[in-house]
């Protein structure tokens, strides 16, 4: 009897938690584009596809979905300001009927080297919490911002050239 009562209480409490944290009203998928480079570097473009769908029986209203990027390099974990990375940072949808879905493309230019995790988040008017897609991780290879192949010849060549002119002037002055 006592055990049954405890189970009943436990079931009721779980039901309560379920009510406080309602199920997601939207499903959000996220996959990288097949044409994405397997080993991208700074300056490359990546594209991600997501589908925001309404699997429920009621319409969702006032949907906003946005992309977030987090750097996950050990010791450098931080959110990334997407201003320089992407001009396509959010989409809105006035209403999403049951069974309806919205496909969104998220292009992104890779600005800085490192390990990153991208995720799509969404809210609607009815659900009391943020709904998120699965993560997609990617690594950006470093690309030299200033190319040593261009700079080294100039940095050593110009002074050497001027030094040569100075030396030639002195030599000619002495010879003359």
């Amino acid at each position: 009897m006592k055990t049954t009562f405890v189970r009943l209480l436990l079931s009721l409490s779980l039901l309560g938690v379920g009510n406080a944290w309602a199920a997601d009203s939207l499903n959000i998928s996220l996959v990288p584009d097949q044409a994405n480079s397997p080993s991208p570097q700074m300056g490359d473009w990546l594209k991600f596809h997501s589908v925001v769908s309404n699997p429920g029986t009621q319409a969702s209203h006032g949907i906003v979905a946005w992309i977030s990027l987090v750097q996950v390099d050990p010791g450098h974990e931080q959110p990334v300001d997407l201003e320089d990375w992407s001009a396509h940072k959010a989409v809105t949808q006035a209403v999403l009927q049951p069974g309806q879905q919205v496909k969104v493309e998220w292009p992104m230019r890779l600005i800085q080297a490192g390990a990153y995790r991208v995720v799509i988040s969404a809210v609607d008017r009815e659900t009391g919490h943020v709904m998120t897609s699965p993560f997609v991780d990617f690594q950006v290879r470093r690309k030299p911002v200033v190319e040593s192949g261009r700079i080294l010849p100039v940095a050593f060549g110009i002074p050497a050239l001027l030094l040569g002119v100075v030396g030639w002037r002195r030599y000619r002055g002495r010879a003359g």
Binding site: M42, G43, D84, R109, L110, I111, Q112, R142, K143, P144, V145, V146, E147, S148, R150, I151, L152, P153, V154, A155, F156, G157, I158, P159, L162, L163, V165, V166, R169, R170
Partner: protein, 250 residues
């Protein structure tokens, strides 16, 4: 040959042909080389920092050009006086105006050499190609009035102060004051005094234009006020140099 062209040729020849002038150019190129090598060794730069790097080199070229102009300008009249060659120059059949325009021609040649010397560096650091052509054009457009203005200020002070040391010191203090935006962070320049200083300072006008064009890709139409500030600076220093040389006494 026109006396102005003769004097300008002599002045520019001292920069390009003399050991002292070549040593100055060598020193300036070494400074730009060191800056470039420091940038190569920096591994923390993001993709967008390439434009920042080009902007930094443009500011440095303008500052070094102004430094060279100040040194050359301070020597023009007072140096002639100290070397005893001013008297023969004044007794020659040339007017003071021709003398000052000839000296200004030397300044133009000095900046032209400095500008040409800087182009390989600007190309070398601008590897992404972002606004590189604009950098080359705007360095000429805004660097020229700013740098020549400092040179003409040096000529005027050289005529008035009668000593190279005094003219050089005064010119350098002015250069340090006006070039301070290169050293001050943007936050310090956001105060009321900083904004006013930025608005009237020709050096700020050039540096802010480099920022606006190279980093923010803004058009020429947004730079007209700043261009006007640099042209006013050039006009004022030109008038100062002409007036000072005309009024000078042996």
């Amino acid at each position: 040959m026109n006396p102005i062209a003769l004097i300008a040729r002599k002045e520019s020849g001292e920069l390009l042909m003399s050991g002292r002038g070549l040593a100055w150019l060598l020193a300036l190129s070494v400074i730009m080389s060191v800056l470039s090598l420091l940038l190569v060794s920096n591994t923390e730069l993001s993709l967008l920092d390439n434009a920042q790097v080009v902007y930094m080199v443009m500011g440095t070229v303008t500052a070094l050009g102004a430094l060279l102009a100040v040194v050359l300008g301070s020597d023009t009249v007072a140096g002639e006086r100290e070397r005893g060659s001013l008297m023969p120059l004044m007794l020659a059949p040339v007017t003071p105006s021709q003398i000052v325009f000839g000296k200004m021609g030397g300044q133009v040649a000095g900046w032209a050499v400095m500008y040409l010397l800087s182009l390989p560096y600007v190309w070398a650091v601008g590897s992404s190609g972002q606004n590189l052509a604009q950098a080359v054009v705007y360095l000429a457009l805004f660097g020229t009035p700013v740098v020549l203005g400092f040179g003409f200020l040096g000529i005027g002070l050289s005529a008035r102060l009668r000593s190279v040391r005094s003219a050089l010191l005064t010119s350098l203090i002015t250069l340090m004051l006006l070039a301070s935006p290169l050293l001050l962070g943007p936050s310090l320049r956001q105060s009321t005094i900083g904004k006013f200083f930025d608005a009237v300072n020709p050096f700020s006008a050039a540096v802010n234009t480099f920022d606006s064009v190279v980093i923010d890709s803004q058009p020429l139409a947004m730079q007209f006020t700043r261009l006007a500030v640099t042209l006013v600076w050039l006009a004022l220093t030109t008038a100062f140099a002409i007036r000072s040389v005309r009024k000078m006494e042996i």
